[in-house]
Subunit: 127 residues, 2 copies
């Protein structure tokens, strides 16, 4: 099976909720989702149907209310989107994106430390 395409903005909004609450019915997803963004029930349903066709989610239709599950984990999807942005906007230079991200947003010392540890690890692998 082909890997699904990157989600569109609206699809990503839905996926974020789906990742958070896990596999669920349209009703449950709509309930959560409409708290942050007023949306009709059938809109959510239609989106999920399209996302099923695209392979972004899978559907268990064994019971009356179908259960939807995100096909890719949040981490996998994030990795793909980052990778895509690196190619499209940075000509493949990952470290440029990293530098931009670090200098744009403030990070706590703990977060910086976490990054430093990963750096050490990456350099260790190399030798």
């Amino acid at each position: 099976m082909k890997t699904p395409p990157n989600p569109t903005p609206a699809e990503l909004d839905l996926l974020r909720v789906l990742w958070k609450i896990g596999p669920c019915t349209v009703r449950e997803l709509h309930e959560q989702f409409s708290r942050e963004k007023q949306t009709g029930y059938t809109t959510v349903l239609k989106m999920l149907q399209i996302m099923t066709e695209k392979g972004l989610v899978t559907r268990d239709d064994s019971s009356r209310a179908h259960i939807y599950t995100a096909y890719n984990s949040e981490e996998t999807s994030q990795r793909k989107m980052v990778s895509d942005l690196i190619d499209r906007a940075f000509g493949g230079a990952a470290q440029k994106l990293v530098l931009q991200a670090l200098s744009t947003r403030k990070s706590s010392p703990e977060e910086l430390n976490e990054i430093r540890q990963l750096l050490n690890q990456l350099e260790g692998e190399r030798s």
Copy 2:
């Protein structure tokens, strides 16, 4: 004036060339651009007209062949796109994106070093 929206994929492709060769006419841009992607002249023209409306580029129409210039620098645009992705896909957590980027793509020791220096600098500011 409002800041321009993020460019669409096709617009970003054009912008990459425009950033590289600097302010130029439709003809020059089309010449460069069509080397990497076969495209009609009027397609490039139309895109630039739309991008002008959006504020992504500015136009000097004092001479017959208008001169187009990217409104934002490559760095500024990259910063916006990264910032946008951090919000949309990472819930605002910049370091998550950094970790993803670093672990997905290989970087040379020099690049890693560059990042390490920025880390040091960021920690220095904090104290």
